[in-house]
């Protein structure tokens, strides 16, 4: 008998009587009056820097300013991007300075953003870049993780990730150091895409 059968037989023999799943009513979960304000404060608390903008103009200006010949910048905001980022390997991306990408949504309670594989083109990009810039629309900020999982389809792609802040560690005497193995900085542009009928 192989390990698989040995394990499964032991589990079947030893498992307790069936216990039902609890009823999960996510409406009891925390909600915020100002979800956008809460989200930006949580991005900052996680070591990132959030900017609330009325359009993508500032982001475009940043890209124009930073995308110089001496900088390695990848801009994934303007899809479709003709270049084939997916086939690039770690060695090709080791000098990547800045990566711009769009997140599907942001979570107010913790400042996390969901980025699927389609949005990052190459799974390494959000991690191997020195500086990560994420754009997210203010209408896509949800209160908490339960709402986030209702809105995203984690299985749409082969990979997806919640990102909250730049990489960090406190492994030396519990001193917070920003910039562990992933990106060293995170800027978040929160774009106001709500339509106001001002009279």
């Amino acid at each position: 008998m192989g390990a698989r059968e040995t394990i499964l037989n032991a589990v079947t023999a030893n498992k307790p009587a069936l216990i039902d799943l609890p009823d999960i009513d996510i409406s009891v979960s925390v909600r915020y009056q100002d979800v956008v304000g809460k989200f930006t404060s949580m991005v900052d608390a996680a070591g990132g820097k959030a900017f609330y903008q009325h359009s993508t103009d500032t982001v475009r200006k940043d890209i124009t300013r930073e995308d110089l010949p001496e900088n390695f910048v990848i801009n994934l905001l303007d899809q479709p991007d003709s270049r084939d980022w997916a086939s690039l390997r770690a060695a090709d991306l080791s000098t990547l300075d800045t990566c711009y990408l769009q997140a599907q949504l942001g979570v107010a309670e913790n400042g996390a953003m969901w980025v699927s594989e389609a949005q990052m083109s190459n799974r390494l990009l959000p991690f191997i870049c020195q500086h990560l810039v994420i754009v997210v629309n203010s209408s896509n900020i949800v209160n908490n993780m339960h709402e986030a999982y209702q809105k995203i389809n984690t299985l749409s792609d082969g990979f997806g990730v919640f990102i909250a802040g730049p990489s960090k560690t406190a492994d030396i005497e519990q001193n917070l150091v920003i910039g562990a193995h992933g990106a060293r900085t995170l800027r978040v542009y929160l774009i106001d895409d709500k339509i106001f009928n001002e009279t």
């Binding site: 394990i7 498992k15 216990i19 390494l124 030396i172 001193n175 910039g179 193995h181 992933g182």
Partner: protein
Amino acid sequence: MNSKSHSEAAQNFIEDEPRTDWHDETLWMVRSKRDKAVKVLPEWEILREWASGIKDHTLSNLDHYLTSFEKNAVANGIKIHWASSAEEHNEIIFKIIADNDVKKIVKSKSMLTEECHLNEYLQRKGINILDTDLGEYIVQLRQEAPSHIVLPAIHLKRQDVSETFHEHLNTEQGNYDPQYLAGAARNHLRERFIEADLAITGVNFAIAESGSFVVCTNEGNADMGAHSANIHIACMGIEKLIPKTAHLGVFLRLLARSATGQPITTYSSHFNKPRQGQQVHVVIVDNGRSRQLGRPDFKNSLKCIRCAACFNTCPVYRRSGGHSYHSTVAGPIGSILNPNLDMKANADLPFASTLCGSCTNVCPVKIDIHSQLWKWRQVVVANGYVEKSKKIGMYGMAWVLSNAVVYRIAGKVGRWAINTFPFVVNNKLNIWYKQREMPDAPVKSFRDWFKEQQ
């Protein structure tokens, strides 16, 4: 395995008093951060109920969830391996390494691979694994074991790290700046990630309905390895399963808040399918877990999500250090998991507790840790794994405490002896006198005092 018992090893640990105090206070600070992060959520207790209920349900139908996870993961292009024991786990990984002619291996934090002593096993075969979590990297360079499952180098001071890095990474001698030291490790490990052939990670949650798994880190090391290397091996115990993706909402809200007081880890990575040209292997390990599932008093310990909140709050852990537990998983949860792995070798661990119950109160999945510690003590004694002196002492005490006349006489004699000849108790033969001042004995018992008041 360390041959010293918890109390003997703890005695060494507390010899350096300022360091012991620092260890105690630093972990208490982490516990306080947890409290702050928890108190902003009015639904915290409901979340704990849900998490506990989801895990109870999963364990009660674990064979079903294991096979549906397998079926869905295989459909996603993931290769599943089963290992009954630590040895089988190590052999499976060695075979993947050998079959693919792998040279360079990076590993992110996985307490399961520590439990299986994978590094030592592969080292004997001439294969080196590089631990990439900063804390694990530090202890690996020092040839030590992690002393905490979330904060592996919490027993070390910045001076220790600086000396270690000076020796191995040629950093500036006497530079104790954490930013500088972490930066040196980042630069060195970046190159190792880029050239890696194979990445090993743990698994925080495996989702039965989708065949996906989630890995949580703050450093980004799991992702740097998994997305760089051509082969990714993820190692998980059978208890890591949850039924549905939506349940991640519950567990991700609990995990980091309980562990470090963060509302979520920096990265919560959801692995569904291998990328183009990549191999993804998942090794599902039993190693005693199915046996624990069959122990009604102890099966709940399998609900653990390895947040280590019980370590940080434990007055004994904070003042004895992780290495005193001579096991991969230290602290209160380790003290109820390890006797299942080897009852004789870990017979001392259920006694490394005051039974104050703080562990149970902070546990995000509501494991009754302190009750299990108390129950393990009885199992360990029934199996004859405690020292004779402890056994005789306990029987003696039980006899005195259950016999009113004997109890009164013993009290009287004790009070008289302590007050008349203090050296009877204040001497080295009395283990209670070690590291303690004995209190003065009261002149009369509570019973005598109460009688006088009537």
